[in-house]
Structure formats: C-alpha cells, structure tokens
Amino acid sequence: MAEERDDSPGSTPGLTRRGFLSSVSAGAVVAVSLKDAPPAAAQEIEATGSTVTVSLHVNGATRKVLVEPRWTLAYVLREVLGLTGTKIGCERGECGACTVLIDGRPRYSCMTLAVEAEGHEITTVEGLLEGERLGPVQQAFLEEDAFQCGFCTPGQIMAVEGLLRVNPSPTMDQIRTAVSGNLCRCGAYTNIFSAAAKAAELRKQKGGA
C-alpha cells in the first residue's frame, strides 16, 4: 500500500483523512465526531468520509486513486488526475461539456461515478493527441474554426470521435444528432458540423475508422 500512487487531493502534506485513518482506529474517529458534532452530522461524516480505491484506465494508462464513492468521474479526471481538458458545465447531464468516451462510446462523465468507471476504457480529449500532435477530429475542429470560447469544445470533439468510431461516414443528420447533446452557447454549430465531416475525411486519409 505504501508504494501505490496516491492521487487523492488529501495526499498533499498536512493531516490527511487517509493519514488520519491509518494512525487511529475507525472507532476513535466516530467517538471524536460524536463528541464534537450532533448525531446527524456524525452520520454524514461516516457516509461522506469513506473512501475506496479505484483503478481507472484512462487514455491507455492505469491510475489508482482513492475516491469517495459519490465523486463523479468528471471530478476525479479533472481535480484528482489533473486531466482538465474535460470540462464541467452543469454537473447534471445537460450540457455535454464533460463528454468522454467510455468503452468507445460518448458518455457524460458528470453523470458517471468514478467507482462505476472502474474496469472500463476511458478516453478524454487529451487521449486523442498523438504526442503533441492533434488527432484528426481535433485537427478538423482547428481547421473549421469549430468553436468560439472553446469550453464546450472537448465535449463536442469527444461526441464526434464517438460517432466516427461507430460510423466513419456519417450523414449531416447523423452528425447533428450526434452532437445534439452538447450545447455550444457561442453558437458555432455550423462549423462543428463542417468539422465533423472533415474529421471523417481526415480519419479515412489516415486509414483509421
């Protein structure tokens, strides 16, 4: 246990929950809490403080992290693993900024708990890079000016990537439907459609599909 990489936010110096737990018994924690806080709060401490270790397979690498069961995949990717390319816009599955691929299919990472993602292949926008080179969908978004502020863009890119993995030659209607779960408040939709079409071409040129 001492050798494993600990990416949890509590792992920074100071009194961490984990360090605390390893130095005193669990019973002592409850006893202290009961003394200092009303019973209702103590229950919450137990429920929210419990952590589990999950192994996340992200962009081809396995990352072991200590998480609370309620933490979303979006939160863990961003704030724990530092993969901030995945964005958060609503945290309730409405805007699509947090879209990642789970086993190759676009999913809202704000609606997926990190513990649920264990054992699945997770791909984020960073995972589309080939070294420092842009992947074909990213390149197409660049060329077609398929964004304005760029905040919804990683989600749009992952939605298009997911589409093209199952449908390398989509029609315009299929493209529009595929990105309809990703809001672009800046309104760059028409360029996103063009980028999706161009991405399909670029992927074919590369021999991908």
Partner: protein, 765 residues
C-alpha cells in the same frame, strides 16, 4: 453594469475630441496580404487539445474549494446564523459570514452588501465555506444553520407597483425616476402621419448561460493576491474593481484570464464569488477555487431584463416615418440596472420625432446585467415588427420601406456616420437571401406554413476607443510577441491582433506570439464588452507594430545607406526592395545598436472628430411553422453586417453565426420562468431553460460582410461585430412567423404553445 456603460459613454464623448496632433500618422491600408483572409485561430491548438487553462481548470498546490450558502427564499431576513456544526465538518478549513472581519462590504452601489441579511431574491449570498473537496464544501454549507424571517415577495412587475406590494427597497419598487428622451415633437409627428399604428410587445428574461460558469481561483502571498477569474476584463472588471473593493493598492493585485468559457456580458463586473474566495483564502491561508454551479449562475449573475414595450408609430403614405414612440417597462430584478431599449428607436431610422420612456420596476428576482447588445435585440423585437406592420399597411415591401427611411447622418448624434452601411446590408443581404424571389414563390403545403422575414439593426458602440494599449516586441530572430490586456472571449481577439501585427510588419502570422489578459504582464485594455475589443485593440496593435518597424527600419536605413520606405522584413533580415543585395540580419542591426529586442507600446488613437462610428446589420429568416404542433423551424438565416474591414473572415462569420443562434433562442425558446406561488425561479438548469441545440439551428446560415472601406473610424478600418450580428435575429424570425401564419407574435418567446395560442386567436377572429 452601470459603471461599464458610464465608461463607454465617456469613451464615446472622447471620440468627438480631435485627435492629438501627430506628425507620424499612419496611412490607411490599401490591399492587404493577411488581413481579410480566413485563418484558423492562433490559439486553436490550445482550445482543441484540452490544454487551454480556463479559470475552472486552475489547480494549485494546497488548493481548497469554496462553496456559497444561498438564501432559499424569494424574500427573507436572516435572523441568526450558526456555523458551529459546519466548522467541525470534515475537510473544512474556513467558514465566513457577514460578521467575519473584512466581510462587511457594500454591493450593488450601496443597495446591498456582500452578505446582506436582507435577502431580496432567491440565491442571495448568506455564508460561505472552504474545504478540501467541493463535496465537503457543499456538505458544510448545508450544515450552516440559518434562521430566516420570510417576507412577502413579488416577482412580476405588474403586481410590484400595486398599492400594498411588498417593498424591495425603502420607498417602493419604482427603480429610479423614468426620464423621457425626446427628439422633435411626437404629437406633431402623429398629426402629420397618414397612418398611425400602436401595438404592445413583450420579451422574456433571457439568461446568459455561459458554458463555463462564473468563478475564481485566488492565491494570497502575504499582502499580494493573484486571481484567476472567468471574466470579461482583467483590468476594469478585475484588478481595479477588486482593489477598490478590498481597499488594496493596484500593484498588489494581479488578475489573469487567458481563456474564458463564454461571457456575453455576464462577466463584465466583479463577482461576489471573487471577494468571497479571497476572504476564504485569507482565512484558510490556502488557495481557493470557487466556481459557481449552473443553478447559482441562473439566480445570481445576471440576465437580459424582460420588457413590455408599447410602440406607437406614424408614417406618411410615401413611407416616410413621422413619429416613433416607445414606452418600455422592465424589471432589473432586485437591484438597479439598465435596459437601454430606447436607443435603437432613436437611431435606426431617419425620423424627426421620437420619444422614448423606460421605467424599471424592482422585483424579487436576480439582477439583470449587460447581455449581448443590451436593449437592442429587445428594441428590435418591437421596432422591427412595427416596421413590418407599417409596411403592410402601406403596401410596401419591408426592404423598400426600410431603405426609404435610411440615413447617413446619425439621428441622435446629429453627425455623419464614418461609414453608413445599413443600406448596403439590407440590399446585399436581400440579394444573398433571394428576398424578392423567395417572397414571390412562397408555397404552402398542408399544415407546414413557410414564411420569410427580415429586420435591421445597429449597435451604439462598436467604435472602440482609447485608452487601449498593446505592446509589440520584436526579437533578433524576427519573432514578435504582442501583449495586450484584452480578453479573447472566443471572439478571436488574439488571432485578429496577430494578423494585424503580421500585416503591418510584413511577416507571417506564425511568427507572432500572443500574450493576453494578465495584469502583471500585459498593458491596459478596457473590458471586452460593447463590441469594443477589435476596434480598440487592432489599431493599437497596428500602431505598436508600426513603431517597432519604424525604429528598426530607421536603423537599417542608416546602416545600409537606403531610405526607410525602401525596406522590408524578409525572414530574419531587413532587405532593400530596390536592391535586395543590400541587407542586414536583424541580429546584426540589433547588435550595432546594443539591443536584443525592440519594444513599442501602441496606443489607441482618438476616434474621428465630428463622426459617429457604428456598426450595422440586416438579417433575413425563413421559417416553417407546423400549425398542428406549433413547432417553428428556422430553415435559413442570412446575416449581412457592416463592421468595416474584415480582419479574420473565419471568426467574422463565426461571430455572426453565434449572434444569430442566440437570437434564435431569444425568439423561440429562451425564457426565465418565475413561480408566483413561491417567488422562485423554476428553470434554473439547462434542461428546463432551453438554449438552441445542434438540431434547432439552420445547417448553413450565411454571412455577408459589407465593407465600405471606412478609412476614418480608425487606422485599421474595422468596427465591432459581436453584438450587431445578434440585434435583428429575433425580430427577423418574428416577421417570418407572421408571414407564415398571418398572426403577429408580439410576445416572445414564440414557443409551440404560443404558436398554437396565436392560431386559435386567429380562428376565433
């Protein structure tokens, strides 16, 4: 918001002062090599790779997370706050309330406080916590016990002025004294008219819904603070507002925001969350990230105010407008703010007699803020529908009727426009759209009714102006860094600035590196709002580049024995055009002069004296209305804009697409819904608040740039674009709906239910 507009008005006044006499004025560009092309953005890589660091993405060592406890009631008085349980919650490092030292700060002018015990709408700030994780912060915020005295509330303007209505501020709910603004004599104008029409129009409260929510990350270093803020202005909205609020020297405050995930006016002022994060951070002695949730942004960081507009208009038989009168009532929410609905009536057409009267009424709802061309899409909704109503009565084509009332002289400023492109926008837009042909071949097929409509617009700012600065620095290898305090809200600011510098220096865009929006590094720029950025920044950048070039060419001329105007930069050398064998590398020249780089500050020059600088637009829409379901499908949109010279064609088109998309939402689906039973907002999320999706917009909207070669507005010849491209959309769609179904959609948004109601009204007669 008031402050921002005061500043803009000041700029506008400045624009009439004659430019400082200068012997070294720059000639306007003729043909350009780079400017005008459509190129990918210089920061596209960062934005598509996931590497761009938005405020939300900043992670610092030892950083903790903030959360704000907000009042759940529409109107309440905080009687008691008990934070003792929250302070003992796991991970909690700081809890603050209004009684925390340093937290007694006035807000909204002096109408409220950072944590005001008098909560005037749902969502007002009551207390805040910082904890190791955002989850723990939310837990702790919920564990704060607050005793509220609930007060009677009012959330609709009609009830707010009735006797006995709950008072939101002492003295009643009238937000200031309405001041009529008049030109000529409207009563005389109505007498002179052959036709007088009157109609009342309503527009909804529209929410900004930036995809990156508002928030800040703050880090104290003793008395100094660094703030990453999702903002529209690191100087005015950031550093200066923060320093004043916290009573700190400017020098001790650093604001940065290289990437912002959407703003649309809602990030033009310092947020309470920034101050709260700073207070939490100071108390915890840890950096704090405080990003608002979607729900919080729906309640507390602004909206476009609604409006009830009664419009009376008079016209002669030949189509000459004789009088326009607007009475507008809106709610700024619980605190003072502006509507700006009247200006379009005063400015868009040549009309000798105009009277506008705007009055605001306080309600227990979130305060409005600037929202993309504040007041103008609202005004266009009523004015441009009224223009179509008049055209119909006159039996005139709407295009012809508008052209009839076109003017090259600013009616409210009484000076000529530097370029008056409205006429060309209408003509070129109509041509692109196929206006006459489409109208003539209108086909009906069963329950799907087709219709076409158009509307015109302009934007009162968009001239840009001083003070605005850019630093241009050339290295000995020919590479150039341009630094500016300007924001790039997604508008492509950095790319346009790089293109301007590359054009002036005669070097490729790839050789330019842009650094922006960091008060510790980049020189002053006013906030990015009012479509002021491009027309302020581009001339400053050109000036800076020109000064750098002049310095280096001066040296080279002396060394090479040629004249400076015979020189150009070629790769890493300065070369004589007439005799290319005469050349020196930049490094050799720099070494001779004992420098390693050349730096110049470009200052934005004054705007032309005696001219009004405004951008114009005209838009055309084609809709299909399903008379069975009430669904409106916008199948085509054409936007023609006079924003002067096009700098980057790609981002130009993209801006107009965006403006039209938001206008489409304003016309058809977007509306804040307040529950009169509880005084709370019903649709505080993106499921119930409906912004246009990929399936709601036309696949290929079209953009027509109109460029009248304005050599007077500034040294680049460009005007603002972001807002004028949004102004006419909703009105054009409304006119198209009328054309389709023969009933006028006076009240927006025209959703399915509204269409069915209009159709049933028509059937009943």
């Amino acid at each position: 918001m008031t402050e921002f507009y005061d500043r803009l008005e000041e700029n506008f006044r400045n624009s009439f002062e004659p430019p400082a006499p200068s012997e070294d004025t720059m000639d306007p560009w003729g043909e350009t090599r780079i400017v005008g092309k459509g190129i990918p953005r210089v920061d596209a890589y960062e934005r598509v790779s996931g590497k761009a660091l938005f405020t939300y993405d900043v992670i610092l060592p030892e950083m903790v997370y903030g959360a704000i406890l907000r009042c759940p009631h529409a109107h309440a008085m905080v009687k008691r706050i008990d934070t003792s349980a929250a302070e003992k919650m796991p991970g909690v490092v700081a809890v603050i309330t209004g009684s925390t030292p340093g937290a007694d700060i006035s807000w909204y002018g002096a109408q409220s406080k950072l944590f005001d015990p008098h909560c005037r709408h749902q969502g007002e700030e009551v207390a805040a916590v910082a904890a190791q994780t955002p989850y723990q912060a939310w837990d702790a915020a919920k564990a704060i016990k607050v005793e509220y005295e609930e007060l009677p509330f009012v959330v609709d303007e009609d009830s707010a002025l009735k006797p006995g209505a709950p008072e939101i501020h002492p003295g009643g709910n009238a937000a200031g004294k309405p001041r009529p603004q008049t030109r000529g004599d409207v009563e005389k104008g109505f007498v002179e008219a052959d036709i007088v029409l009157e109609e009342t129009f309503r527009t909804p409260v529209q929410m900004h819904t930036t995809i990156e929510t508002h928030g800040s990350v703050v880090k104290w270093d003793g008395e100094k603070i660094t703030v990453w803020d999702s903002s529209q202005g690191v100087y005015d909205a950031g550093l200066m507002s923060f320093a004043r609020t916290m009573n700190m020297p400017y020098n001790n405050v650093r604001f940065l925001c290289p990437y912002v995930g959407g703003a649309f006016g809602s990030k033009l002022e310092l947020g309470k969350y920034t101050i709260i994060a700073a207070l939490l951070s100071r108390k915890a002695s840890r950096p704090v990230k405080l990003m608002l949730t979607r729900e919080e942004t729906m309640l507390c960081v602004g909206n476009r105010p609604n409006a009830k507009m009664t419009v009376k208009a008079g016209v002669k038989k030949d189509g000459t407008l004789t009088a326009l009168q607007l009475t507008c009532v809106f709610t700024p929410g619980a605190y003072s703010s502006m509507a700006f609905v009247g200006f379009l009536f005063q400015e868009l057409y040549k009309c000798p007699n105009v009277m506008v009267l705007e009055s605001g009424i306080y309600t227990n709802a979130g305060r409005s803020r600037a929202f993309r061309a504040p007041g103008f899409p609202t005004a266009a909704w009523s004015l441009e529908q009224m223009m179509d109503m008049l055209a119909e009565k006159l039996n005139m084509d709407p295009v012809e009727f508008r052209l009839k009332n076109f003017t090259e002289i600013s009616p409210s400023r009484r000076v000529p426009y530097s370029s008056a492109g409205l006429k060309d926008c209408i003509i070129e837009g109509a041509k692109k759209f196929g206006w006459s042909e489409t109208k003539a071949t209108k086909t009906e097929s069963g329950h799907i009714k087709r219709g076409v409509g158009m509307a015109a617009g302009l934007w009162m700012m968009g001239s840009g102006g001083p003070p605005y600065t850019a630093e241009v620095r050339m290295f000995a290898d020919g590479g150039v860094t341009v630094k500016t305090g300007a924001m790039d809200l997604g508008t492509g600011t950095k790319t346009t600035a790089a293109m301007v510098a590359a054009e002036e220096l005669g070097i490729p865009v790839e050789n330019i590196r842009m650094i922006n929006a960091d008060t510790a590094i980049t020189p002053y720029a006013s906030s990015s709002g009012g479509s002021m950025t491009l027309a302020s920044l581009a001339p400053a950048v050109r000036r800076g580049a020109w000064l750098v070039k002049r310095q280096i060419f001066g040296w080279a001329a002396e060394i090479l024995g040629v004249t400076a105007d015979d020189l150009e930069i070629r790769d890493k050398s300065i070369v004589s055009r007439s005799n290319p064998s005469k050349k020196k590398t930049l490094e050799e020249i720099f070494r001779t002069k004992g420098v390693l780089d050349v730096i110049a500050i470009g200052n934005r020059e004054a705007n032309p004296a005696g001219k009004a600088v405004m951008p114009f637009s005209a838009q055309f829409a084609e809709v299909e209305v399903n008379t069975k379901t009430g669904e409106v499908k916008v199948v085509r949109l054409v936007g023609a804009n006079d924003s002067g010279r096009v700098v980057n064609l790609k981002s130009y088109e993209n801006q107009v697409y965006g403006g039209m998309t938001q206008g489409l939402g304003y016309a058809l689906t977007e509306k804040r819904v307040m529950d009169p039973q509880t005084g709370k907002m019903c649709n505080t999320n993106l499921h119930d608040y409906k912004v246009p999706t990929a399936l709601d917009v036309p696949v290929r909207p079209e953009v027509v740039p109109v460029d009248l070669k304005d050599n007077e507005c500034n040294n680049v010849g460009c005007k603002g674009l972001g807002e004028p491209g949004h102004v006419p959309t909703a009105a054009a769609i409304a006119n198209a709906i009328y054309n389709a179904i023969g009933v006028r959609p006076t009240d927006g948004p025209v959703d399915n239910r509204m269409i069915l109601e209009l159709l049933s009204r028509k059937r009943r007669g």
